[in-house]
Symmetry: C2
Subunit: 229 residues, 2 copies
């Protein structure tokens, strides 16, 4: 992924790069807020109050991440609501297209769906300027859903093995919708597309391989859940 | 409200009193969790992302209150989920009957609706054992919704005075649904009903006057919003 000679990090003094970072943070911030809102509404599908509250705890972490990005945009002299609002529509469309019909679908979405975008942000974020890289890493940190989701989904499949087929299809649908929305976001936001295709990124990240890596990580998560990818 | 001679506080060593407190905390804890979940889903009605996040902040406060009650029940050796789950159904029914159709109805509900029950808990809580009294006061503390809601609703009515009629009806409906659910909760939970009718409470609180006080406070809030009660 990285070349042998260290590549200098890009600088926010470059207006085109700065615009790309603002769009990336806008997308990430809007995504974290909607992840919070959606997780809380999906919590209502939980079979017990204690599970509902556990999901609410994870959701709160997403809201905390949203705030970190909001604060950073303010610090950069950017209106966070303006930067983020541009991305609400495609993200809400993703959530509408992948509204879980029950608790297990919600769990799989919270883990498998969110992780696809997190993997993407984490990989791009790592080669950006230091401040942005640290922020993206923090925002993409695990909030405890992995352990909760794997245990619950595996237990449910053990009780009723027929669930595995439906949830495997659901996981494939999440991947498909996520990639389709990602393409439309990139097509509509020039600054973000330019950032992803900029020299500091392309010299360190094999973008053709990125899709393969995202897919491989998705398959690994599905396998961890006991599902065919 | 209080008599001249200080009335000794009731003790959790009295099993009937303890059961009443457990039911009260169960109701309050379930109420705070659902208030959190509902506020977050109502946030999606907000016209801007910044307003959505402001509502989410208030909602987070409700989740924090829920946790305080959860911790206290655990400390009392009670399973919080069991104590609270018994109250989910009537509370969810209240929320279903009062699902706001737009942002302004959501705001009025977050302020006017929640305050009716808060007033009730605050008055009963004050005469209970010290630990319970302190906890109830903390859980019923203002989360910042008052200022937000009054400013927004008044501004909306200034822009479109016809809103006042619809929102005034909405406030009356919130009061009606709240009182109706409260009656059914009291009828179905003997321990709670017994607590409210117990000597430590009735000797210090004029229960007939309580309904009048709750209504008067409701009218005052509606007036503050610029609405006929």
């Amino acid at each position: 992924m990285t070349t042998d000679a260290p590549v200098p990090r890009p600088s926010l003094d470059d207006p085109a790069y700065r615009q790309g970072v603002i769009e990336l943070l806008g997308l990430l911030g809007a995504g974290e807020y909607l992840a919070f809102e959606r997780l809380v509404s999906e919590a209502a599908l939980a079979p017990s109050l204690s599970q509902r509250v556990r999901v609410a705890d994870i959701a709160q972490g997403e809201l905390g991440h949203h705030r970190l990005i909001r604060d950073r945009l303010l610090e950069m002299g950017v209106d966070p609501d303006e930067a983020m609002s541009a991305f609400l529509l495609p993200l809400e469309s993703y959530h509408r297209m992948t509204a879980p019909s029950d608790w297990l679908e919600g769990l799989v979405k919270a883990y498998v769906g969110d992780s696809i975008s997190t993997d993407f942000y984490r990989e791009i974020g790592a080669v950006l300027d230091e401040r942005t890289a640290v922020l993206v890493a923090e925002v993409c940190s695990e909030l405890g859903q992995t352990a909760v989701v794997i245990a619950e989904v595996r237990a449910a499949i053990a009780r009723d093995p027929r669930l595995a087929g439906r949830l495997a299809l659901w996981g494939r649908r999440l991947l498909g919708e996520m990639l389709s929305q990602a393409q439309s976001v990139a097509a509509q936001h020039d600054g973000l597309a330019a950032l992803i295709l900029s020299e500091p990124v392309t010299s360190q990240i094999d973008l053709v391989g990125l899709l393969e890596r995202l897919t491989a990580a998705h398959v690994a998560r599905m396998t961890a859940l006991g599902l065919a990818a």
